[in-house]
């Protein structure tokens, strides 16, 4: 079949880059923004950015927020929002720590933790899809609910997990590949690649886009709207659990505020990546690059010798400029 006949973007004289431009203008924009920022770091602080240490530090701290942002991309694409995932992460983390203290087994704690995340996610989903509470309202409620639960369960006390270091699974989760690369970053990248593929090429990703675009059309096209939305919330829960596993393994300590502070950076990564709050449009690749940007911004700014209290300003500037560019690109 010669589809190129009716597809000017695919005629031979056009390069691969212009095809990418035509199909994914926002992916191209975010890549350029990321490269500009990185160029700025390199020029501003070459002594830092020409050494591996700063990258190792990014790689060990990025994945927790990153996994949350990957999951949140699906929810935002639905045209919905989840504000409770840091608290879900807290509950899952408590379960991980408690089960590990009881059994001493990382695999069992791992499964219990992910399972807890999925159950919390499913409860969010039921509240939103079955009872019909708008997602922002429902998850403000469960944000306090899950965090409150952690506080009660943990009695405000932390749980040390140093024995994790004796297990081979510890190295699998957060060891250093070739003595250099944090394993959590390797896992994060593999999961990101899978999510990028699912978003654009898997039936599930396609259905999320349809539901976010137009629920009633999606239903008439034979898409199971309820199931698709539930899956997004359960996936968000699984990602929160996974994020908790990596974070707790890295620091080998549970504290009741686990997850706090990840909400806004994760959502910022989603929006800077070009996913629309109105739903039906977005990019998982964009989120991935957004995670790299948001995750490196603060350290990058500090390394350049700019005083710490400028970070928020530059942070805000980057986000504002990026989302303005998207709005302009989409208007054309």
């Amino acid at each position: 079949m010669d589809s190129s006949m009716h597809n000017p973007a695919a005629t031979p004289e056009k390069s691969g880059l212009s095809v990418a431009m035509a199909r994914n203008p926002i992916d191209v924009a975010i890549t350029v923004i990321a490269m500009l920022l990185f160029g700025m770091y390199l020029i501003g602080a070459p002594e830092v950015y020409l050494h591996f240490d700063i990258y190792r530090s990014f790689m060990s701290t990025l994945p927790y927020m990153g996994l949350l942002a990957l999951g949140a991309t699906f929810i935002v694409t639905l045209g919905e929002i989840d504000l409770s995932f840091p608290s879900v992460m807290g509950v899952a983390a408590w379960v991980f720590a408690t089960v590990f203290t009881m059994t001493g087994s990382i695999p069992i704690s791992f499964l219990a933790c992910i399972g807890t995340g999925m159950i919390c996610g499913a409860l969010n989903g039921l509240l939103i899809t079955r009872i019909g509470v708008p997602s922002i309202v429902a998850t403000i409620g469960t944000m306090f609910l899950w965090r409150g639960l952690v506080n009660v369960l943990a009695q405000g006390k932390g749980i040390p997990l140093v024995e994790m270091r004796d297990s081979v699974f510890y190295d699998v989760l957060v060891g250093r590949l070739f003595g250099q690369i944090p394993m959590q970053f390797v896992w994060f990248c593999l999961i990101a690649i899978l999510m990028i593929a699912i978003y654009k090429r898997h039936v599930f990703g396609s259905h999320v886009l349809f539901v976010g675009d137009n629920k009633s059309s999606a239903q008439m096209m034979g898409i199971r709207v309820y199931r698709t939305r539930m899956t997004c919330y359960i996936l968000m829960g699984a990602m929160s659990g996974l994020s908790a596993v990596f974070l707790l393994s890295e620091v080998t300590y549970f504290w009741p505020t686990t997850g706090d502070g990840f909400l806004l950076p994760a959502l910022a990564a989603v929006f800077i990546g070009g996913t629309s709050v109105f739903g039906g449009r977005g990019s998982m690749y964009g989120t991935f690059v957004g995670i790299l940007i948001i995750g490196s911004l603060e350290a990058g700014i500090v390394a350049m010798g700019v005083q710490g209290f400028y970070t928020q300003l530059i942070y805000g500037l980057t986000i504002t400029v990026a989302v303005s560019i998207y709005a302009l690109v989409m208007k054309k």
Binding site: S3, A9, H202, F210, D213, S217, M220, R224
Partner: protein, 256 residues
């Protein structure tokens, strides 16, 4: 009920929205090789009937049979997998998604893991645009978003999509609405074609001339009930128009 020649049957279908009864006991059978027209005023319940038939709505009461089998309709997939294709009045397109994605929505060409064959879907959608719809405009490609299409073009995509996935029963809810004369002719020709291929169709259209020129049987709906049914050899076009006018004015069907 004799269901031997029936493709799709409704048995005592009731449907209400927020306690308002919209369908009040519908019994209707569509036979193989038959084109049935559903006519009636705005709000009579025509679109609601087809949404119950195809699984968009779950009826408050009553049963749907497809090919003699009772189907507990939960999703459009339930009718689609049994050979029923539908063009809804709302057209059921997602504006921000590419044409190829819309064409294959809900029945993607996929592998066992659920990953789509995007290349093949693009190619087949391109062929659909070219051959079935005669889209030659270079501005419109399979990668175009539906939002960029004109009203008629959107409708064209919805209709072409339904015809592309060959079905035993094709349901068209006001397919000619807003179309030019030429495009309207094309759609009506498609409907005649459906019968020539021995398949069935349900046509909803407010234009009695269109309806009379293609349908074998006319089902007249009035405020959620079937007010009367006639086959083409029972009444002339003028009689059908008279009946519709009478019904509108007096709320009753006069017997001729």
């Amino acid at each position: 009920m004799d269901l031997s020649n029936s493709l799709l049957s409704l048995e005592n279908i009731h449907m209400s929205f927020r306690r308002v009864d919209v369908l009040k006991g519908i019994d209707l059978t569509i036979n193989r090789g038959e084109v049935v027209a559903l006519v009636g005023d705005n709000g009579a319940g025509k679109s609601t009937i087809i949404k119950v038939m195809t699984g968009v709505h779950h009826p408050t009461k009553g049963k749907v049979y497809i090919k003699g089998e009772h189907v507990n309709m939960r999703s459009v997939q339930d009718s689609r997998t049994r050979g029923v294709e539908t063009v809804y009045q709302e057209r059921a397109l997602a504006d921000q998604q590419e044409i190829w994605r819309n064409v294959f929505a809900g029945r993607e060409i996929r592998n066992r893991l659920g990953f789509m064959d995007v290349k093949r879907q693009r190619a087949e959608a391109a062929q659909l645009l070219r051959e079935r719809m005669g889209f030659t405009s270079r501005a419109i490609t399979t990668d175009s978003e539906v939002a960029g299409l004109s009203g008629g073009e959107k409708q064209g995509v919805a209709i072409a999509r339904a015809l592309f996935f060959e079905a035993d029963l094709i349901i068209l809810d006001e397919p000619t609405m807003g179309l030019s004369l030429k495009e309207t002719d094309k759609v009506l020709k498609f409907v005649r074609n459906i019968r020539e291929q021995g398949k069935s169709a349900i046509l909803i259209d407010h234009n009695i001339l269109h309806v009379y020129s293609v349908a074998d049987r006319f089902v007249i709906l009035d405020r959620g009930k079937i007010a009367g049914q006639f086959t083409k050899d029972q009444i002339s076009r003028e009689q059908l128009i008279d009946i519709m006018v009478d019904l509108h004015q007096t709320g009753q069907i006069k017997t001729h």
